[in-house]
Amino acid sequence: MKYIVAIIQPDRMDEVLERLTDKNINLVTVSSVMGRGRQGGIAQVYRSHKEAGTLLKKVKLEIAVNDEFVTPTIEAITGGARTGNVGDGKIFILDLAECIRIRTGEIGGAAIG
């Protein structure tokens, strides 16, 4: 089991979600986050003064998958989120120690789907 965390451009979210659905990956948690990359964000200017406003809006996806779904998930995210410009984002993949479905008490791979 893997836990996939992806940071993408907010306006690519719908396309990524559509492609995940096409590959039968439905479990996903989405949050609105702020962040920056190597370019350091865009400095904001208020009454000629730069204030600490360099972070940009991003969307964070969190997806728990069984091992056979890792490649399709990566394909869906990269396919949907890539524009070729700086700021397209990153995918992080973590080992997932356990997963439990609260309603039934199922454990492990069966709980993910």
Partner: protein, 458 residues
């Protein structure tokens, strides 16, 4: 112990009110008698009330009320960080309640009551005694005296409100309450009397201030600078502060200020006449030009127009045209607007940075700097072709008027600056001005009011 202090204060307030009620009731009784009396004199006085004038000043009063809440409240509230939005809205709303009461108890009488040596009004009109339906010809002969009183009340409310911009996000609420009541009584009321009260010594000098350039904007603006200096900078100033948390609020606030300012300036004609029309037009034109001027300065120095820049320029224009509205024509208004946008931009962008003080929302940079420009510009562009009761300025062959304006500015800056400093130091010694470092980090909404403006979870 702290709670007990507040309770005692409230009880005191209750007693003051209870004491006032019989006086108020008596006053209403006498004025009603006068209005329906059979003797010819009161009947003549009643007929002096002009319904058009009265209607316009009543509407203007409501417009000026709108400038403080929600106009100024939203303008300032949008510019602070999320964690302090309620504290700023609270301060504006609180002033509406507290200064209104102060005005009834003694503020109006100190400002406009019968003159004592040109310095202050006496207490003959305390609790609005002798302020009734009949017009007071000294101030406005065609509207009820009460209507003039409540129109002026809204000016007394918004003036301390402007100072909030300087000390936002770091002044303790209890200190705010004490300082503001002292300031309204010891700074606003005398300055108002000097400039507008019959017998006031600045008025007798011949200084022109149509709607409050010195009384409102320079007065509050210099107090704002002193407050910013006495309180010190916010944690993280200048480079580690978050941006304004809600610019749409600020835009709505600025728009409401612009709208309300028609009452502020055109209402100051105290009649529905040509002078009110002129004030309305020049107010609008100066504001439009100042907004554009600031926006173009933004383009020149930062390559882009900013929303905050455009609305800041508009507010600077409103401030600057305030003393001039009843004395200048449209050409003068354009000059005043252009100067306001350019001068306030340069001050806020460059001079403020050099000086290093933390006037959080530029109350000094916009209101005092713009106010001084407006007061002096009135001495440049004033013309008796607009208002025969006014005077000509430098550009109309009367350089002496410019000097008078300069004197009025200097008197206001020196008096308000020094007395504001003393009052701040006094309140600091008594209860402390500044919120604790921990409160400042957490935000005043939670620490001073036990509320938050926004929830993250439903």
């Amino acid at each position: 112990m702290k709670r007990l202090g507040w309770m005692t204060g409230l009880t005191g307030l209750g007693m003051v009110l209870a004491g006032a009620l019989p006086a108020l009731a008596e006053e209403v009784a006498t004025t009603v008698t006068a209005a329906v009396g059979a003797t010819p004199a009161p009947a003549a006085a009643a007929s002096a009330v002009n319904s058009g004038d009265t209607a316009w000043v009543l509407v203007s009063t409501a417009l000026v009320m709108l400038m403080t809440i929600p106009g100024l409240a939203l303008f300032y509230g949008g510019l602070v960080r999320k964690k302090n939005v309620l504290s700023v809205l609270m301060q504006c709303f609180f002033l509406m309640c507290a200064v209104s009461l102060q005005w009834v108890i003694c503020g109006y009488s100190l400002s406009f009551g019968p003159d004592l040596k040109g310095l202050i009004g006496n207490l003959d009109w305390a609790f609005l005694k002798n302020v009734g339906v009949e017009p007071n010809a000294d101030y406005a002969g065609t509207i009820p005296h009460q209507v003039f009183m409540i129109f002026q009340m809204m000016f007394a409310v918004i003036t301390p409100g402007l100072i909030i911009g300087a000390f936002a996000e770091r002044m303790k609420f209890s200190a705010f309450v004490v300082f503001m009541l002292l300031w309204a009584t010891i700074v606003y009321d005398p300055v108002c009397h000097w400039v507008w009260g019959v017998g006031g010594f600045v008025r007798k000098m011949g200084a022109l201030d149509f709607a409050g350039g010195t009384v409102v904007h320079i007065n509050a603006g210099i107090a704002a600078l002193v407050a910013a200096l006495v309180l010190g900078r916010r944690l993280g100033h200048p480079h580690k502060l978050s941006p304004p948390h809600n610019l749409p609020f600020a835009v709505m606030g600025a728009a409401l200020l612009w709208f309300g300012w028609y009452g502020f300036n055109a209402g100051s004609a105290l009649a529905a006449n040509g002078l009110a029309g002129n004030a309305f037009v020049v107010t609008h034109v100066a504001t439009a030009v100042a907004g554009l001027a600031w926006a173009l300065m933004d383009v020149a120095f930062n390559r882009r127009m900013t929303v905050l820049g455009l609305i800041s320029g508009a507010v600077a224009g409103l401030v600057a045209v305030t003393p001039a509205a009843g004395f200048v024509n449209v050409g003068g208004a354009m000059g005043i607007g252009l100067g306001a946008g350019v001068i306030c931009y340069l001050f806020v962008s460059f001079v403020k940075e050099k000086l290093g003080y933390d006037d959080a929302l530029d109350a000094f940079g916009v209101h005092c700097v713009g106010g001084i420009w407006g007061a002096l510009a009135t001495g440049l562009w004033a013309t008796t072709t607009v208002n025969s009761a006014g005077a000509n300025g430098l550009f109309y062959g009367n350089p002496a008027q410019f000097i008078i304006q300069l004197k009025a500015v200097a008197i206001t800056v020196v008096y308000s600056g020094i007395v504001s400093f003393i009052l701040l130091k006094l309140v600091d010694a008594l209860i402390g001005l500044r919120a604790t470092e921990q409160s400042e980090r957490i935000g005043l909404d939670l620490t001073d009011h036990r509320e938050t403006g926004y929830t993250m979870l439903d």
